[in-house]
């Protein structure tokens, strides 16, 4: 079974803090993704990566950056957290040339910025 793990289930941070969200997958997937989920807006893609050290902006990259130093690990960084970044953050992975583009998701991190 594919397993995607996220470092924290719940996180509370102050405005202006630097926040790191970590994601690890154990199935040797090339693609990794970061989404945020907000009520009424669905899942919106922040950044994705298709290889080590490679990254591409998604639909809402502003205020975020990412790092992929190892194939299994993809980090999302909030350089200076703001209250509008309070959200559920979901990490996912998939095969680069998969038959279906099916993505496997982690359990999510509920981030609250005060």
């Amino acid at each position: 079974d594919v397993k995607v793990t996220q470092s924290s289930r719940y996180l509370v941070k102050r405005t202006g803090e630097k926040v790191f969200l970590e994601c690890v997958q154990d199935m040797d997937h090339e693609n990794m993704f970061w989404y945020r989920q907000d009520p009424g807006l669905g899942l919106r893609l922040i950044y994705f990566s298709y290889d080590v050290k490679m990254k591409e902006k998604g639909d809402i990259p502003e205020g975020y950056s990412v790092s992929r130093e190892k194939k299994e690990r993809f980090s999302l960084i909030l350089e200076s957290a703001s209250t509008n970044q309070t959200s559920m953050y979901l990490c996912a992975s998939s095969l680069l040339a998969g038959a279906s583009n099916e993505q496997f998701f982690g359990p999510g991190t509920r981030l609250t910025v005060l």
């Binding site: 669905g42 996912a92 583009n101």
Partner: protein
């Protein structure tokens, strides 16, 4: 620009009846569609998918129908069970379009399904 839309934010159904969740898309490059189910405090899990070369795919109680000309797909759950209560997301991808899609999925807003005992 919302390329994948689920226009019903919520749906309430009685146990044993049919649940029909709808999804519309605008991008004609989309050729592969997936449904995900999400319980609170958990990540989405894959439910069922359909390729654009088909118009129907069935897996147990779940059937997905695709109408390419209308750019519309629907998920049917028969019979519905209380354990089906969750948020359902429709997602689309350009799997066969080539280029550098890198497995990106575009998700709809989600529909909250509640199945009453």
């Amino acid at each position: 620009d919302q390329q994948v839309k689920q226009n019903s934010p919520s749906l309430s159904v009685q146990e044993g009846r049919i649940s029909i969740l709808n999804c519309d898309y605008t991008n004609s490059m989309f050729d592969y569609f997936l449904w995900y189910k999400k319980y609170p405090a958990e990540g989405p899990t894959f439910l069922i998918s359909i390729s654009s070369i088909k118009d129907k795919n069935e897996d147990g109680r779940f059937t997905v129908f695709l109408n390419k000309s209308a750019k519309h797909l629907s998920l049917h759950i028969v019979p519905s069970q209380p354990g089906d209560s969750a948020v359902y997301f429709c997602a689309a991808s350009a799997l066969y379009a080539g280029g550098t899609s890198y497995g990106k999925l575009t998700f709809g807003q989600g529909t909250i399904l509640t199945v009453h005992p």
